[in-house]
């Protein structure tokens, strides 16, 4: 079996609503660069493929439909692209994948921001594409009436990805020539208009930012985000409950072999023995005042049992996992220092970084430029 791939999802102090009250959670530092730098450094010591940074264009809410007035949960987030960029010079190998809402934002801005994240991280940028159908979030922009049909959100997301991908290719790799003999800085025949026209936006191009080091930074999304144009996404996240569901979903997705990844999202609470894990989870739930539930499966147990489960699900058709630490201060080190060594013992996970780019870590080639006409560089 090939080695599996591991990412972690970072959101505030962790996935559990009471995570911020745990020892070591640093709740008063959640809006500092130092906190994020330390967390991503820990993920990098575990040789993880990438981290994602959760984000959104509205304040977090316990209600899916509207803002709440709770005061006992973490509220507020820093822009994920900028947080990733702030961490990029402090890390060397780990992929940096900010969450981005494409429903209200500009593909032109997003394309150059991600291209630049790829430049400042030297080829480690990705993006987690998200849509938002929330009427209260739309009122932060005041441009459109919500709700809109889900199909419309997916269509817009697909158009958005199409445009950012075209803009990344709008400069050929060798467009900058600095030819003193002719006085030309660029060969303008190697810059391309993208000329996208759609119902939500039209974009002329080219990008103002040269092609990023990876050619195409990694595009990730929940399954269905860009439906039915699934092939625009390099890596999809699914939320199966068990191995049978993994089999069912991965069969449906039929990823072209070697070109696309399917990761399962899994929330984890890890301790050295089962009893300690159960007790901690119960304590967190008591503190939150309600049993924890989320859209993904939740694992509570030991790193060894988690390794068993990951391998079982991998066999059912997955290439990797995005683990959501219940409590970052506790469960992230449990992943990097408990789960990872366990997987390494089983020869199921890398023992060192063997690539410099995020695509490289995931075994994905650097794509050819769709606009290139000359002999392949």
């Amino acid at each position: 079996m090939p080695e599996l791939h591991l990412a972690v999802a970072l959101d505030g102090a962790g996935a559990h609503p009471a995570a911020w009250r745990e020892p070591g959670a640093r709740p008063d530092e959640l809006f500092t660069a130092r906190y994020w730098a330390d967390v991503v450094a820990e993920a990098e010591t575990g040789l993880l493929d990438f981290v994602t940074f959760d984000d959104g264009l509205a304040l977090q809410s316990a209600s899916a439909a509207e803002p709440d007035t709770r005061t006992d949960h973490v509220r507020g987030r820093l822009d994920a692209v900028l947080t990733a960029a702030r961490i990029a010079p402090l890390t060397r190998h780990i992929g940096l994948v900010p969450g981005v809402t494409v429903t209200h934002t500009e593909p032109f801005h997003l394309s150059k921001a991600l291209a630049t994240l790829d430049h400042v991280s030297r080829g480690r940028a990705g993006v987690h594409i998200q849509t938002s159908g929330l009427p209260h979030e739309a009122r932060h922009f005041g441009r459109r009436e919500f709700p809109v049909p889900v199909g419309e959100l997916a269509g817009e997301a697909a158009d958005h990805i199409e445009v950012i991908r075209r803009l990344w290719d709008s400069w050929e790799d060798d467009a900058e020539i600095r030819d003193t003999a002719t006085g030309r800085f660029i060969d303008r025949d190697k810059l391309h208009y993208v000329d996208f026209k759609g119902p939500y936006f039209s974009v002329r191009g080219p990008s103002i930012t040269p092609r990023p080091p990876q050619g195409q930074p990694l595009v990730t999304a929940r399954a269905g985000t860009a439906a039915p144009r699934h092939a625009l996404v390099d890596l999809v996240y699914i939320t199966p409950r068990d191995a049978d569901e993994v089999r069912a979903v991965t069969t449906l997705l039929t990823p072209p072999p070697g070109t696309r990844h399917v990761f399962a999202d899994l929330t984890v609470f890890l301790d050295e023995d089962q009893r300690a894990a159960d007790a901690r989870r119960a304590r967190l739930d008591a503190q939150a005042g309600a049993p924890y539930g989320t859209d993904s499966a939740v694992f509570t147990g030991t790193p060894g049992r988690l390794a068993d489960l990951l391998q079982e699900w991998q066999q059912a058709g997955l290439s990797g996992f995005r683990l959501r630490p219940g409590v970052i201060a506790h469960d992230l080190p449990a992943i990097t220092r408990g789960l990872v060594p366990e997987l390494q013992r089983r020869s199921a996970f890398r023992r060192g970084y063997r690539a410099d780019t995020l695509r490289g870590l995931l075994g994905l080639p650097r794509p050819a430029n769709r606009y290139a006409t000359g002999p392949a560089a």
Binding site: W20, R21, P27, D28, F31, T32, A33, A37, G56, L57, A58, L59, Q60, T69, R70, T71, D72, V74, R75, G76, L78, D79, V81, L82, A85, R86, A88, P89, H104, E106, F108, H109, K112, A113, T116, H119, V120, R122, H136, R139, H140, F141, G142, R143, E176, T180, G183, R184, F185, I186, L191, Y200, F201, S202, R204, G205, P206, I208, T209, P210
Partner: protein, 462 residues
């Protein structure tokens, strides 16, 4: 005899831009995209104790004659993303970015700047610019353009709205107390509502108040409206008048407007852009400056520049020959697109007449004429001469300091840092160490108090 205390000079470093000021043909010229270049440039500025680094922005590649303009540096990274990354390799340097208010939305820009201010520990600044061209609009959702007379009203409302978003948190909301379980003291933190002509939005802003309260705000326009906007709302002006006479007139005019807006003289800093060429002696510097001008204005560049005024294809003309005998095509410039500079020629026919007269009187070719009429370097001389000139201008109230634009990426600032800065420090007019940690502290600006509409506060238990 009373002596006025010496003014302290503010200095900033403008990363070389995508125009012909930047000399890319020099063997020492490096990448303007690789992050290493930005690191070198920022760390030089910080080593020299500069107030801040400045990044420009342009949202469409320039075109001339229907083709992408290829003679200057082309392409740049995303402003916000580079500034956030630079925060990791600097500790004190302010980080200023130009962000357009026409092709963005207040909620998104406010959260980007508030985030940047958190991630830099209070070093973020925003140069608010506007545009109204349909050419750039072709890259954005709103697509269209703004009538010229609306660009300032929209920019003003954009900034007002962003300010309301920054102020929707006052900095006291976060308790983060694990014992009591209270994270937020205010259940309605971030609530805002703006119902205006350009923006009609409401909800909850999702970035808590940042270290500087709000980013430092720059304004760059020179028109009467631009000056009024600056006097009313800006913390600093990115100006263009760097000579004694023009500088003093501009300085007096803009600072004179402050009182009408209830602001003090020191609440707004005037920082013109300035270029420089340094040599061991003044004579050597003058010679170097001339060489740099020749590199900046090649024969091809001179022809292209002339087209900005003539508004027609002049590719058949010899740059070493005389000016065109034909007159400029009147009306909106359709030859050069994506360039703010073409608008400085309000009366192209008069400009053409003036230049022909100048060329005939001095027997200048097209290239020589363009070199003569376009900006020569602001400061040319030995380090002592340049330090003296800068100090004189600041003490004479022609400026509060300068935003220096080197012509080389990324090393163009090095010699200034090594030779001029120590002389300014010896004169006692420039800091030898940073005394504050935020950009507001570097610039001597007060931390703004949040302004919230009366009755906006809601009890937590609502």
């Amino acid at each position: 005899m009373s002596t006025k205390p010496l003014k302290q000079i503010h200095l900033a470093a403008h990363f070389p831009g995508v125009n012909n000021t930047t000399v890319w043909s020099d063997p020492a010229a490096g990448s303007h995209i690789d992050f290493d270049s930005f690191v070198h440039f920022a760390q030089t500025a910080e080593r020299a104790k500069f107030d801040f680094l400045f990044l420009a922005e342009g949202l469409r590649l320039r075109e001339q004659g229907g083709k992408i303009y290829d003679l200057d540096v082309v392409g740049r990274p995303d402003t916000f993303t580079v500034l956030a990354a630079l925060a990791a390799v600097t500790e004190h340097l302010g980080l200023t970015g130009t962000i357009n208010s026409t092709f963005n939305e207040p909620y998104e820009v406010a959260r980007q700047f508030a985030s940047l201010d958190h991630l830099t520990g209070g070093r973020a600044a925003w140069n608010v610019v506007t545009s109204w061209d349909a050419f750039t609009g072709e890259n954005f959702r709103r697509g269209g353009f703004l009538p010229r007379n609306e660009r300032y009203t929209r920019a003003r409302e954009f900034l007002e709205t962003a300010t309301e978003l920054f102020d929707s948190w006052d900095g006291t909301e976060i308790a983060a107390d694990p014992v009591t379980g209270v994270f937020l003291r205010d259940a309605r933190a971030g609530a805002f509502a703006h119902h205006g002509r350009h923006f009609d939005i409401e909800g909850r802003f999702n970035v808590p108040r940042s270290p500087q309260g709000r980013p430092v705000v720059f304004q760059a326009g020179d028109s009467d409206e631009g000056r009024e906007f600056a006097a009313a709302r800006a913390d600093a002006v990115f100006g263009r008048h760097a000579t004694l006479q023009e500088g003093r007139a501009f300085y007096a005019d803009v600072k004179g407007r402050l009182a009408r807006h209830g602001r003090r003289h020191e609440d707004l800093k005037i920082l013109p852009a300035a270029t420089f060429v340094l040599g061991d002696t003044d004579a050597e510097a003058r010679e170097l400056a001339h060489e740099v001008r020749r590199l900046q204005v090649s024969g091809q560049t001179a022809i292209k520049y002339l087209e900005h005024v003539w508004n027609r294809d002049l590719s058949g003309h010899d740059p070493d020959g005389p000016l065109p005998a034909t007159d400029p095509v009147p009306g909106e410039n359709t030859v050069a697109l994506g360039r703010a500079s073409v608008r400085q020629f309000r009366d192209p026919l008069a400009t053409a007449r003036e230049w022909r007269a100048l060329a005939e009187a001095k027997n200048l070719s097209i290239r020589e004429l363009v070199i003569a009429v376009t900006a020569r370097q602001t400061f040319v001389g030995s380090a002592a001469t340049v330090a003296g000139a800068i100090d004189t201008l600041v003490q004479a109230d022609a400026a509060d300091g300068f935003i220096l634009v080197p012509h080389l990426t990324p090393g163009g600032l090095d010699v200034f840092a090594d030779t001029v800065v120590p002389l300014l420090q010896e004169r006692g007019v420039f800091r030898t160490e940073y005394t504050g940690s935020t950009l507001r502290e570097h610039l001597g600006l007060a931390v703004p108090q949040p302004v919230r509409p009366a009755g906006d506060r809601q009890p937590a238990a609502r």
